[in-house]
Subunit: 227 residues, 2 copies
């Protein structure tokens, strides 16, 4: 990332704000404020103002934000002002679920191809208009279809090998659903989606809510003193 | 969350550190350092030290971390020192993918039941030992099986309704795969998994890498001045 000052959580929150604004807009609402967004999302208003301040001054003090304008700005920031051609690599349950995920196209993500090595899957459609190609044709098909983003949903053990092949296709970014930390050239963007991480954040919230956490921390401090 | 000082990104990174430590441990490595972790993960060493400092003093200066000890501490912090009984609500492609996701049990997450309203799915197994029950039996089965966590993978339009039913079962947390911002009582933990948010973070990285971002920000600033 060329601008190292912008924290990744800010970027993710921008995407969350955008979805919230979409909902408000489709309900016919034209104006919002950091306070209003805060209430809808359970994020502090000060956090929302801080996040948006990285990218310039949106809205006017005391007047709030014009929803269509703010949406347009966030769209531009996140690169959602244009179309992205996407390929799914690995057609298991997860790949199929993603291919059929509603809301991709409305956000500018168009799945143009899927790839698998399973001969039974090659030639079938996993979603309307999404054909499964032989993984051997990866470079050729990605080039023809001008694929810029790959969604990687292969088994972990083949993830790095397939990622290396993806790099050769000239792809720009990988959404990585495998549990492998991919080794990639610096110019390839990568986002890891690991829902066990979310599960662990969830159990943290549960145990901290039930105060078990304090015993744990105390115990840990005691151990340190003994060392 | 009872301790508001710990930022959510820290918690998620703890889960990421844990996975990295697991990999090192299974490769027979016994010691690590914030620098070593930083290199494996592409996260700054100072960030790692800061994250771990929330929970006490792990490791010794200049000596680094003892991997099994650090793993045990993170496990306790994240609530992974115990078993969690999990149910999957909504048996589409996504629900099936999750039920078959390897690595759940090794992290202490045991899928004990799945639920759907589709009569064709009820009574089948979506993974070894995971039976699909009628959603009408949600309260009864969750209580019998002592389910504490629900993975919600139903269509968005029924998400809130099902979430309300889940609250009544006495569940403690929901991993929400639907695009809906659920309204839940304060004592129910929730984590939202929305991979379009990750896709948007990815496109942000791509466009900022290709410098398109600077034009966008400049344009936005100009607009503001005109107002």
């Amino acid at each position: 990332m060329k601008n190292p000052k912008i924290p990744k959580p800010t970027i993710k929150r921008l995407a969350i704000y955008y979805r919230c604004l979409e909902n408000k807009e489709s309900a016919g609402i034209k104006k919002t404020s950091s306070k209003d967004l805060a209430e809808s999302l359970g994020i502090k208003a000060s956090q929302i103002r801080k996040d948006l301040s990285y990218f310039g001054e949106f809205g006017k003090r005391g007047v709030g934000y014009d929803i269509p304008k703010l949406m347009k700005s966030i769209k531009n920031i996140l690169g959602l002002h244009r179309r992205w051609n996407v390929a799914i690599i690995g057609v298991g349950n997860l790949g199929s679920a993603i291919a059929n995920y509603t809301g991709l196209e409305q956000n500018g993500f168009f799945i143009k191809a899927a790839f698998d090595k399973d001969k039974k899957k090659i030639g079938t459609q996993i979603a309307a208009g999404v054909l499964v190609y032989d993984i051997k044709e990866l470079k050729k098909v990605c080039s023809e279809k001008n694929i810029e983003i790959a969604i990687l949903s292969v088994p972990g053990k083949t993830a790095q090998k397939v990622a290396d092949q993806l790099v050769e296709t000239g792809i720009k970014g990988i959404l990585n659903f495998t549990p492998i930390a991919l080794q990639l050239p610096e110019n390839i963007a990568v986002e890891n989606v690991d829902f066990t991480v979310s599960l662990k954040a969830l159990t943290y919230e549960i145990v901290s809510q039930y105060k078990e956490i304090y015993e744990v921390v105390e115990e840990n401090n005691n151990n340190t003193e003994e060392q």
